[in-house]
Amino acid sequence: MLGSAAVAIGLDVHKRFVIHQFKQRQLGCAQTDAMLRKASQGRGLFLRFSGQFRGTWKNFPCGAYYRAVYLLYPLPVLVGEPSQLINPHDGAEQIRQAANFDPDGAWLLRHGVPRELSYCYSDSGNITVTMQAAAPAPAPQ
């Protein structure tokens, strides 16, 4: 019994205070959160993911979308059409397919997501992040 407790406590101490596993994850989350808040500026957000996220970044689009929805709620966050189904077991694939969806400024404004945050994954493994505000479509002449 004492051995079990020693193993359990030792593992937890190692994770928390030696390899700082939780601290690293918190820092990662904090960076993502700061990016999302900066991009949103208190308004709805459209997320774009381009490139083939792979390796350790394979689930990044999923994680970023779920995090954005939670962090910014009740502000709307979209990756595609509002009717785009993103369910638990196919979410990653559904978000990847939504990358083909390219709405214009008018659509974004109409759906309450006037701010855009784009993540572009390059073949070299870098992720480029851009933020912009949706521009309304020019008035017909």
Partner: protein
């Protein structure tokens, strides 16, 4: 003082008051630790159920609503407690424990409390399921009442958050948002520290009554420091809370078995209803509880027991009915296990059984996830084999095995990649079973022989 800290403390106090309102009536007066255990586990559960009921009537959680619920339970508890006849209190079973042993086990449990406290009170919500599912729902419930139905429940782009999952745990956190007046507060996980402490206190008090403080301290020290529990208890997910309700219901069922007191049956009903409202797995556990009340008592076919089992089942069903009605029209876009759990599909997926069995066995033996927690089960059974004939022990073994076996059919029909699914969820499913295992470890704990003068003399009941 930061106002948010003050409101957090007030909310935790409200949860405890609601729990004490129930515990004061249903638990013997001198069992302080037991009362705290019940209050800390059931208080958040009952508060959440009341908030859900009011939210379904159009009143979302707010300070006045939470205050009203607290006052009602405090007043009701005080009124009924004063009318309560004196009850017999059983002294502890087993010999007193050496102080150094209690101190050592307390120190071990204290580390668990420290680690869970860090997660619940200081660290932000970073676990995937916590922010993607449970705490997202908490924000929805904090912002919108359940009537009229919020747009969240029809939004299929949020279907990954399991739109049909029950709402007890999110409502506990929503209550905190309502109290602090902030959606981004860092205190939404604080109530789960309470349920973690309650689980430890209640399991300790229960084992102490049966086997004495030495066994109780050992079992609780093991329970509260298993890596999986420490990881999940303060993370903002629902699994540790489900485990707390599971432990509470088991203790009450064992007491009902032994004493046949209606107070224990009422408590079991509350715990079981909270189980059903916490996760889908809770429904299965609730069904197992009903079967246990019906079948695992000394005289199962006696009229009193049959009526008790029927009343228990009916009460749990009535308490769960609002969610059945509310969720019946929600989109079905996730796994939908109930549709797939039929004989045809189970037969078609029989080849998955060896993989599932291997995965479960591997998880039980994983020292990274559990230390040697699960190894203590067979070890303590082997050290005290005669104890296996005692009713509470074989009852717990039956319930534990039923609980673990109940998880097999959903694995067989799950649409996910099975290896990935086993890796992702097995530790949490076994987390639900840890209270049963801890109770078994405590009840099977080998005892040192007593001095001859006091051996085998039954301890008198005292008021």
């Amino acid at each position: 003082m930061n106002p948010a800290v003050m409101w957090c403390a007030i909310y935790l106090g409200c949860l405890l008051i609601v729990g004490y309102g129930v515990a004061a009536v249903l638990i013997a007066p001198k069992s302080h630790l037991e009362r705290f255990g019940v209050a800390a586990c059931l208080g958040p559960g009952i508060t959440a159920l009341c908030l859900i009921a009011l939210s379904m009537c159009g009143w979302g959680p707010s300070r006045p609503v939470i205050g009203l619920v607290t006052v009602i339970f405090a007043a009701g508890g005080l009124f009924l407690w004063k009318k309560q006849p004196p009850t017999l209190t059983q002294p502890d079973g087993g010999p007193p424990a050496p102080l150094w042993w209690i101190g050592l086990c307390l120190a071990i449990a204290a580390y668990g409390i420290f680690a869970v406290g860090l997660d619940a009170l200081l660290y932000p919500t970073i676990e995937w399921d916590a922010f993607a599912i449970w705490q997202l729902k908490a924000k929805v419930l904090a912002v919108h009442a359940l009537h009229p139905r919020p747009a969240y429940f029809d939004n299929v782009s949020l279907s990954y958050s399991h739109l049909r999952y029950p709402l007890l745990v999110p409502m506990i956190s929503a209550g905190m948002h309502a109290m602090t007046g902030r959606l981004d507060d860092p205190w939404q996980k604080a109530p789960f520290l309470l349920t973690y402490l309650g689980l430890g206190a209640y399991v300790f008090a229960a084992i102490k009554k049966w086997r004495g403080p030495a066994a109780a301290a050992a079992a609780v020290a093991l329970l509260m420091t298993t890596p999986v529990i420490v990881f999940h208890a303060g993370s903002g997910q629902a699994d540790a809370t489900l485990a707390a309700f599971c432990g509470g219901s088991l203790i009450c069922i064992l007491r009902w078995q032994r004493d046949g007191r209606w107070q224990d049956l009422i408590l079991a009903t509350m715990f079981t209803a909270c189980l059903a409202w916490t996760k889908q797995e809770g429904l299965v556990l609730a069904a197992i509880d009903v079967a246990a009340v019906a079948a695992l008592t000394p005289h199962p076919l006696r009229r009193r027991n049959l009526w008790a089992a029927a009343a228990f089942a009916l009460a749990v069903a009535v308490l769960y009915l609002p969610w059945i009605l509310y969720s019946r029209n929600l989109p079905r876009t996730d796994e939908n296990y109930t549709q797939h759990l039929n004989l045809t599909e189970l037969a078609a997926h029989l080849p998955r059984l060896p993989q599932i069995a291997t995965g479960m066995a591997g998880e039980l033996m994983s020292w990274v996830d559990w230390g040697f927690f699960w190894w203590m089960l067979p070890l303590t059974a082997l050290l005290s084999p005669r104890r296996l004939l005692e009713r509470p022990i074989w009852t717990l073994w039956i319930l534990l095995i039923c609980q673990l076996l109940a998880y097999v059919p959903p694995f067989m029909v799950a649409p996910w990649d099975l290896n990935w699914l086993l890796e992702m969820v097995l530790d949490r499913l076994f987390l639900h079973a840890t209270p049963a295992a801890a109770l078994l470890i405590g009840l099977q704990w080998p005892q040192l022989p007593r001095p001859a003068a006091t051996a085998d003399r039954p301890a008198p009941l005292v008021h």
